[in-house]
């Protein structure tokens, strides 16, 4: 029980009962919430005695007295745009904001909507998938999200449906010591294709504990971008579940910039033969920031391939954690799984932890991992300076080159360019416009 931690209000049963009583939704979903809250109570808030949370210090979060958020109005100008025609759904404090959203003409057999609204209209499309995907069973914040989510996005593409227009999902938290639990459910049936951009941002102090669930049918393709740019006081504790069918393709970009404490737990299950999964992560952390990624890629079927490429740039007294597991089940022969973790330290006080792990239970596989942590290459810096480039600019160019490499595979050009500028601004890099 959580009696010992009364300050974290959502963790109390009365708060849950009060919240659940106000919901109007199908019984199946209400049962799901109750089960999830029971699970959360059993798990409790993580402590550093638990191996998976050994390096994640939640004491600052546990000292908070968070409440459910009030409704808030924000100016449309405070929200990012993609620079491209997009299906745009905006949420403020976890609640759908129709005035800030814009849905373009939808292809047949595609639904892109607020999850809460879709649940009223099409519960039969949601119930089979919501919280049914495997993974994150031990993740208390996923349980908390399942218990408390108010809204989020539902994307359902029927067999063969290709949505070229990017789906832009923006979650803005207005602070005030509140909690938000965005829920994203992406269901791509056989051969469907979608490009999704999720942005988390906000002002003031809050906890954002989002959960994304993506299920890819056979031959489906998902290009997913997650941009975590929370306010400097925010806590971000997110979960991503991914389940992939035969020959499906998932490309995920995870950019983490904001928050005083940010952690994403991701579990991918490659559940069909020949599934391919690429995870590209980039974390920037400075001052006292803590940023953490826990990844588990589970190869359950033969001929799958996965690539994990995680980078971080640390300044000040920042700390980052990368914990990446490649698990290959006995049956998953001919798996090709790679993992690389690279950390660039800009300060002597910064700390990067890399924890690559392999569990290979099949004998005919190609698996590899590598991890490097280091400072800027003094030889490279001298080389640039010897050509006339001032020291500060030389360092900026090198840092940007290290980080920008993670963005190069983003196909949405305006987004890639915006993120490159974001990098430069966040790292306070004095960089001239390139070619």
């Amino acid at each position: 029980m959580t009696a010992a931690a009364p300050v974290f209000q959502d963790s109390s049963r009365p708060a849950f009962i009060e919240f659940a009583a106000d919901r109007r939704e199908p019984d199946a979903i209400a049962r799901l919430r109750r089960a999830a809250f029971d699970r959360f109570e059993t798990l409790g808030l993580p402590t550093r005695q638990q191996e998976a949370w050994r390096l994640t210090d939640l004491s600052a979060l546990k000292a908070m007295t968070f409440q459910r958020p009030a409704d808030a109005l924000i100016d449309a100008g405070a929200l990012p745009t993609l620079g491209l025609p997009a299906h745009r759904l905006a949420f403020v404090n976890g609640r759908f904001a129709p005035g800030l959203s814009h849905l373009r003409e939808m292809p047949d057999r595609a639904l892109i909507a607020s999850l809460d609204q879709a649940l009223l209209a099409y519960p039969q499309w949601i119930e089979p998938y919501l919280d049914r995907l495997p993974g994150l069973a031990q993740h208390p914040f996923t349980a908390l999200n399942t218990a408390f989510w108010e809204d989020g996005a539902f994307v359902h593409l029927s067999r063969g449906t290709v949505v070229e227009t990017p789906i832009h999902l923006i979650f803005h938290a207005a602070g005030g010591d509140s909690t938000v639990y965005p829920r994203l459910l992406l269901v791509l049936d056989e051969g469907a294709q979608a490009t999704v951009v999720v942005e988390y941002q906000g002002t003031g102090r809050y906890l954002n504990a989002p959960v994304t669930e993506a299920r890819l049918g056979d031959g489906a393709a998902l290009h997913y971008h997650q941009i975590q740019q929370e306010s400097p006081q925010a806590f971000h504790l997110g979960g991503i579940r991914l389940q992939q069918g035969r020959n499906s393709e998932a490309n995920l970009h995870l950019l983490s910039v904001g928050g005083q404490l940010a952690r994403t737990d991701l579990e991918a299950l490659l559940d069909g033969e020949g599934a391919s999964c690429t995870l590209n992560g980039l974390t920037l952390a400075r001052d006292q920031q803590f940023s953490d990624v826990h990844v588990r890629v589970d190869h359950a079927q033969p001929h799958g391939s996965s690539q994990q490429r995680f980078k971080s740039v640390l300044d000040g007294k920042a700390r980052t954690v990368f914990d990446g597991m490649i698990h290959v089940r006995p049956h998953a022969q001919k798996t090709d799984a790679r993992q690389v973790s690279r950390n660039l330290l800009l300060s002597r006080q910064a700390q990067a932890h890399s924890n690559p792990r392999l569990e290979i239970l099949a004998d005919d596989v190609k698996c590899g991992h590598g991890s490097t942590t280091g400072f800027l290459d003094p030889d490279a810096e001298f080389y640039l300076r010897a050509r006339g480039i001032p020291a500060a600019q030389a360092r900026a160019i090198l840092v940007h080159a290290f980080a920008n490499d993670s963005l190069n595979s983003i196909r949405l050009t305006p987004l890639r360019e915006r993120l490159a500028r974001l990098l430069a601004a966040d790292l306070a890099l004095d960089i001239m416009e390139g070619e």
Partner: protein, 270 residues
């Protein structure tokens, strides 16, 4: 010392002046009192066996960290070079062609060059280079070193062959148009065709206003870049100077002559 600077300024035809230069690396004395004067338009070759201090001299001139000048001075156009940061030296018109050009993943060659050109222009109080002018210059200079256009988009030196790296050094020199260039063993690791390309590039840049210091272990390069003066560096000192024929002499006799009696050379230095 001050009187000396005034004097060197008066002597306007001196470009680079090295006087009694002593330098240590990790506390070890590598340069033991080098004197050298280069005037505009001149090509000086520095030859010497491994460990004689050739690359140390190049790095001290360029301002690399870890090389400590304990005595002596270097003046460039009468200005105290040793007081300047590496980037300031470059902006003043100095160029080092690296013996081991550094690979810089993620920084495109063209971007790097433009940043360098604009840094120098900014130092001179000039506006950034016009994009079209820059493109024209780059293309013209690429032909000089027979460089493929695809190398512009590739990351600086990343995955380049040894020959491509050296060619890229000469290409950068051709674009930056320094007034004084130090070529640190630019010939090492090159086959004869690549050597000719590199030498042609350097020769095309020879002019009455530009000085060169060509550092090499082998005489071969000097068949293609014909120097005005040749100096033999040994145990951190210039032990012999002469015309281009000195290089041929060394080719025949090797450095054995100097290796045989290092003690005498060192005593003479003392």
């Amino acid at each position: 010392m001050r009187a000396y600077i005034v004097e060197s300024r008066r002597e306007s035809s001196i470009m680079l002046e090295i006087r009694n230069l002593h330098a240590t690396v990790d506390g070890r004395e590598i340069l033991n009192g080098i004197d050298l004067i280069v005037r505009p338009g001149e090509v000086h070759a520095i030859m010497g066996p491994n460990g004689s201090g050739k690359s140390t001299l190049a790095n001290v001139i360029a301002g690399r960290e870890g090389y400590l000048v304990t005595e002596g001075a270097i003046h460039f156009d009468g200005k105290n070079l040793l007081d300047m940061a590496p980037e300031t030296r470059a902006c003043e018109g100095l160029f080092l062609a690296f013996q081991y050009p550094v690979e810089i993943p993620g920084v495109a060659n063209l971007y790097f060059l433009k940043a360098a050109v604009n840094a120098v222009r900014k130092y001179r109080g000039e506006p950034p280079v016009d994009a079209m002018d820059f493109w024209d210059l780059v293309h013209e200079r690429m032909e000089l070193v027979k460089m493929d256009e695809s190398m512009l988009k590739r990351s600086v030196n990343e995955g380049f062959s040894g020959g491509e790296k050296k060619r890229n050094e000469v290409f950068q020199m051709a674009v930056l148009q320094p007034r004084f260039a130090v070529l640190d063993e630019t010939d090492s690791g090159l086959d004869i065709d690549a050597l000719k390309v590199v030498a042609d590039g350097v020769n095309a840049l020879r002019s009455p206003e530009r000085g060169f210091l060509v550092i090499t272990h082998y005489q071969r390069l000097l068949d293609y870049i014909v120097p005005d003066h040749v100096h033999v560096l040994f145990n951190g000192r210039i032990v012999r100077s002469g015309g281009k024929e000195l290089a041929l002499e060394l080719e025949e006799q090797g450095y054995a002559l100097y290796n045989e009696e290092p003690g005498r050379a060192r005593r003479a230095a003392a």
